[in-house]
């Protein structure tokens, strides 16, 4: 990550920015972010994280849900790192 201040922590409740629309695309078998005249095709983990960012759930709840859904542990650092990137891309607002 860059040395810009990290502002996402486990208590943050991120949501997908109004500038983008997140939706599942059957033809591409992936989640995408749509915006005026463009599209970001998300990989599976990015899609699974963003679809849980509803502005109500905190990062810790998103992490818990992902760990349960994929029967794994230790995702917190990766999720926070991705959300920092997503915030810089203006995909999510906090």
């Amino acid at each position: 990550m860059s040395d810009a201040a990290t502002i996402i922590d486990t208590a943050t409740t991120p949501h997908v920015s109004k500038r983008f629309r997140l939706q599942w695309e059957e033809a591409q078998q992936s989640w995408v972010l749509l915006y005026p005249e463009g599209m970001v095709k998300l990989n599976q983990s990015a899609g699974e994280i963003l679809r849980r960012c509803d502005g109500a759930r905190s990062v810790i709840e998103v992490v818990a849900d992902l760990e349960q859904a994929f029967a794994t542990t230790g995702l917190e650092a990766d999720v926070i790192a991705f959300l920092e990137l997503a915030r810089k891309q203006q995909w999510v607002d906090v």
Binding site: E37, G38, V40
Partner: protein, 390 residues
């Protein structure tokens, strides 16, 4: 209208991906007379427009084939009174829909109806800034119309995307164009240099800017970017005539982009109908999936099997795919030739000569006046006729 930008490029695979970008050209009718319009010069000969039911079917078929961005364009799409019906269906199907409009006819009531129908965004183009250049630059009538439309767009919570086609006659006022967009509250501004097809090709010698004009415009654009920061994102699309490598036209033939014209002809780009010896399918006869994957017209210039020298053995062929087929045809008479923008093309001198005429400022306004787009002018001209370079 100006050509919209295509979504993120994808690498060309032997089996193409889905037609991600559907451009629905609902009508060629238009209240404007833009000298740079990419609609065909013989648009007035177009037979019947597709019906509402035809368009609804096209939307469903395209969505099923994987289209996700849908642009409603023209002409002026607001002249179709079923626009709200089509937008609503596009929304229901999960399209991200875009209306490409001059704003003429966008009343508050219609804007509300389009918002209710689920329209995702509007791209507002500056009006014909040649015929009304003085008016345009003096912020009078045009400004008032745009101000009203811009307020309507903002009131409905849409992002404000503005587009202005740039050419020799307005490029020196780019500072005022940018300031105007900021004043109107635009969040995105596309300064798209005119591309030389159709009406713009007829007027090429009058519209092509000099290199000095382009450099100055880019410098001013960068200064304005620094001044306005996050308030506005400005895209400056450079004209390809001044380059030595061609553009990767449409991100590849039949790669992401599907245009359906007012009469239902399906094309890999807005101007491909000019190419000879290619039968493009019509959505009245063939479903979108078959058009995209199986039709001769869409497969003709996919991949690189069609290439001739110098493209065939060029190490850069993957990068630009030989450039634009229409430009190659217009300037060389051979649609499979290298785009003459490329300095490896044996016809590159045709582009250089056009640019040199622009450098010398030989704008033959007196001998050859600008040709304004209009149905009467269109009827007087047939496809391919009077296009320079043939």
């Amino acid at each position: 209208m100006n050509a919209p930008q295509t979504p993120a490029p994808q690498t060309l695979a032997p089996q193409p991906g889905p037609p991600l970008w559907l451009l629905a050209e609902l009508t060629y009718r238009c209240p404007l007379h833009c000298v740079f319009c990419y609609n065909p010069v013989d648009f007035a000969h177009t037979p019947d427009e597709l019906s509402t039911d035809d368009w609804l079917r096209v939307l469903r078929e395209a969505r099923a084939a994987g289209s996700v961005q849908c642009g409603f364009s023209g002409g002026e799409p607001l002249l179709r009174d079923d626009l709200e019906v089509l937008v609503a269906e596009a929304h229901r199907l999960g399209f991200y829909s875009n209306l490409l409009t001059s704003g003429v006819g966008l009343t508050e009531a219609r804007a509300r109806a389009l918002k209710d129908a689920g329209l995702a965004h509007i791209q507002l183009s500056f009006q014909d800034s040649t015929k009304e250049l003085n008016d345009f630059l003096s912020h009078t009538r045009t400004f008032e119309l745009k101000q009203k439309v811009a307020a309507t767009i903002k009131d409905n919570g849409w992002p404000m995307v503005m587009n202005c086609v740039i050419h020799r006659l307005n490029i020196d006022y780019i500072d005022r164009i940018i300031d105007m967009a900021v004043e109107l509250g635009a969040e995105y501004l596309e300064l798209a240099n005119s591309q030389y097809y159709s009406w713009a090709m007829l007027n090429r010698d009058q519209l092509l800017p000099s290199r000095e004009q382009i450099e100055r415009a880019e410098r001013i654009t960068n200064e304005r970017r620094a001044r306005y920061g996050d308030r506005i994102r400005i895209f400056f699309v450079v004209p390809d005539y001044h380059e030595t490598r061609p553009k990767k036209c449409m991100n590849g033939w039949g790669n992401v982009f599907l245009t359906v014209t007012p009469d239902g002809t399906a094309l890999p780009c807005h101007t491909a109908r000019m190419l000879p010896g290619l039968a493009f399918p019509n959505v009245r006869d063939m479903d979108v999936r078959s058009i995209w994957y199986d039709s001769e017209g869409f497969n003709r210039y996919r991949g690189d099997g069609w290439m001739k020298e110098p493209c065939r053995t060029c190490p850069e062929k993957e990068k630009d795919l030989g450039g634009c087929r229409c430009q190659a045809f217009m300037l060389t008479g051979d649609a499979a030739a290298a785009d003459p923008v490329c300095d490896k093309s044996p016809s590159h001198h045709k582009v250089v000569e056009a640019v040199e005429r622009a450098e010398r400022g030989e704008v033959a306004v007196v001998e050859r006046p600008l040709v304004f787009r209009g149905p009467e002018e269109s009827r007087r001209r047939k496809a391919g006729l009077l296009q320079p370079g043939n």
